[in-house]
Point group: C2
Chain length 431, copies 2
């Protein structure tokens, strides 16, 4: 185990102490039965509801501070906890109870000629570190998934939600204690200095997996500085490619959904690629539709010429940076391409390996796209918005991985597990 | 894609160019059929044998330099390539051909109520970076496993083996070209400045997985500085716990094998824990046995007292550091414990999560050990030396992972793969 270095001994002592407690609790949680874990989740749910008044009162402080700081209404809305939202958290913890417990699954049995029997079995990851921004529901979601999978979790939420998180974690830990489970399995780092993140992600031997959830800046910082294994989540510069042989109405429906149904999330479309064979008729029509939703288009020269010919003038010409940007809002970059191959080349250059979709009636073109494009999720004739743990039927989600190691795409319970090999012998030695 | 930063523009340009070439080749390799990949492996094997004279001549330069530098005979032996060793490499490439190609495996099919059909399918990782020390056979092993799994590989071997690696990679790339496969799928970084390692492990977007293989110093440096995903390999502070209810003869056989059969490797035993109930009789006997193999014991106070009573004096008392050390040689730390629980506590404190074994006839004690001890491989009544890809029946091995993310224990073909989700729809959008 590494010693943790920091300029602030007190902060380091606080974080290290919580990590050691989590480590010890993780060892105890690893051997809990499915029903013991579900009883703990139920006790957490009961306690959240029991303490809803205190939680809302604590949240009021965070919301008042956010208003003083002049935060946007969108951010304030994400922060607010009401009795109804606490009820949703309680229901979330009950839904997790209903999920199948994957722990102890036998993934493989190998019998060797020398008589050794090797079982590959699913085990908890150990200690998870969640590093996230504002939304306090992540606190409850992450704690619930950690308990269900026999892991301990160390939570480091954003400064804006500190009072809310303290109140939520107090209730969750009380729930664990009521169920006779080590309350140290849920830890909140209640210090919001940036250094507390560094201490978590550099705690080799104490943290088995760090998951950053938030903006590109947070994720970049965590991967830059981490010494522990990290799963990158979320940054989605997702494309829809509308092929020359697309059904135009299906293409419009999918593009509209992918862009406007919830533009602020990672699986929303950011760039639209259109085959030249269909562009002259279809681009003006989709531009008109998107215009009614207030979507700003940033268009390539060819799309611009088509739109000008159709009487739409004054659009901003897309720069290379536009094609590389995750707008997370009502902005869309548009490019006309000569072929599916050009579309795939564009995606290989600008994509973030999150979700990439093709709309076409040509099965061969579709299959080439699905097999060639390198992304967590590739989609034929459906919206990019389906990349989501619930939409996949996982019943829960801790994030969407955009890396290739360990977990790719929506991460549910199984993605919070590891495995070990158990060898049983009768005295075998190696020759 | 990040730009690569370095003080030496020329070196950065060389490494970046090779990474871009590997990236392009990886896209082509991802769609090769199993028989195309096997034809490439066969062509690599043929070409290695064809160029054996040039390879041995290049190796002679490395060996001569190692002698001038006064390297130990053990290290020189690991470096030497003879016609026989090249024959073994050729056979290794043929064995990889015989392994089942896991690419394209359908890992899961999910049918959703909205009619979406989601396939989870195995895909190559993309670009692998191997960073390793001296042994030139790693060059051929890694290239063979990469080609079999449809990955590209960028090799950064040790300075001592540079001429050998250049000759080997020249032959392997020629083999790929002869088989009509992009020779850029195998790249050698032939610059041995330390900075070339940094450039590889910081190339986010260009390298999908870095695997360091070598001493603890190399692995520490790579995990400290990497921005790309890394799998830690190899450091094994492995224990054997001889329980009070162990069969003494079986315990002796296992302990002897785990310590002396090949002491320089990561799955050799480094510490022996003995239950006090058996210690007084069994410790003197195993000490005598190990003495005949030249093993130096470093013993706890209680073991020392037992051995002194048996007439063995002057042993070094084990320090805390001894219990934390991977000796990789004929040294063994010995500790008498009061219980299996104390043994497990010791392992939790000093182990490196590689391989941990218990010897006992008590099945309950064994099962508690197997389920509680957190390591890649846990063993009942067999030697720690079985943690090995070939011994597991994987047919090949690129290293032994000691982390919990993605791959744990021996890594074969499957551990060099990722997966993606393929969604097929008929125009579905999210409500």
């Amino acid at each position: 185990m590494m010693s943790l270095e920091t300029g602030d001994n007190d902060l380091a002592a606080v974080v290290t102490d919580k990590l050691h407690r989590a480590r010890r609790a993780a060892r105890a949680c690893a051997t809990l039965s499915p029903s013991e874990k579900n009883a703990a989740l139920e006790a957490m749910a009961v306690q959240l509801w029991e303490q809803r008044t205190e939680i809302v009162a604590a949240n009021d402080i965070d919301v008042a501070q956010a208003r003083v700081q002049g935060q946007t209404e969108t951010r304030i809305d994400r922060l607010i906890l009401t009795e109804k939202r606490i009820q949703e958290m309680v229901e979330g913890l009950r839904q997790v109870q209903d999920l199948r417990d994957p722990m102890g699954d036998i993934l493989e049995v190998i019998e060797r000629p020398n008589g050794l029997v090797i079982h590959k079995i699913r085990v908890p990851m150990g200690v998870l570190a969640m590093i996230y921004e504002s939304r306090p529901n992540v606190t409850v979601d992450a704690a619930g998934l950690a308990v269900k999978t026999g892991n301990a979790v160390v939570l480091r939420g954003g400064r804006e939600a500190l009072h809310s998180n303290v109140a939520l974690v107090q209730a969750l830990r009380q729930g664990l204690a009521n169920a006779g489970v080590a309350s140290d399995a849920i830890q909140l780092i209640d210090r919001t200095e940036r250094e507390s993140v560094d201490l978590l992600i550099r705690a080799k031997g104490l943290v088995d997996l760090a998951i950053p959830r938030g903006g590109a800046g947070l994720i970049e910082r965590v991967t830059q500085r981490a010494l522990v294994p990290v799963i990158e989540t979320g940054v989605g510069n997702c494309h829809v490619y509308v092929d020359g042989e697309a059904d135009p109405q299906m293409a419009s429906r999918i593009v509209q959904n992918a862009k406007v149904q919830r533009p602020s999330v990672c699986n929303a479309m950011e760039s639209l690629l259109v085959h030249q064979a269909i562009a002259a008729t279809w681009v003006p029509s989709i531009a008109a539709t998107l215009n009614t939703f207030g979507v700003e288009l940033r268009v390539c020269e060819r799309a611009n010429a088509i739109l000008e010919a159709a009487g739409v003038a004054g659009l901003r010409v897309a720069t290379e940076e536009d094609f590389a940007t995750e707008f997370l809002g009502l902005v869309l970059a548009v490019k006309v391409v000569d072929s599916a191959a050009e579309a795939m080349e564009h995606i290989a250059t600008y994509g973030t390996k999150h979700t990439e979709a093709i709309v076409t009636e040509n099965v061969q073109t579709a299959e080439a796209f699905l097999s060639t494009v390198d992304a967590a999720v590739v989609v034929h004739n459906a919206s990019t918005r389906f990349t989501d743990g619930f939409e996949f039927g996982f019943g829960a989600e801790i994030g969407i991985s955009t890396q290739k190691l360990h977990a790719r795409g929506p991460m549910g319970l199984r993605e919070l597990t590891s495995y070990k090999y158990v060898i049983r012998g009768v005295g075998q030695v190696r020759g």
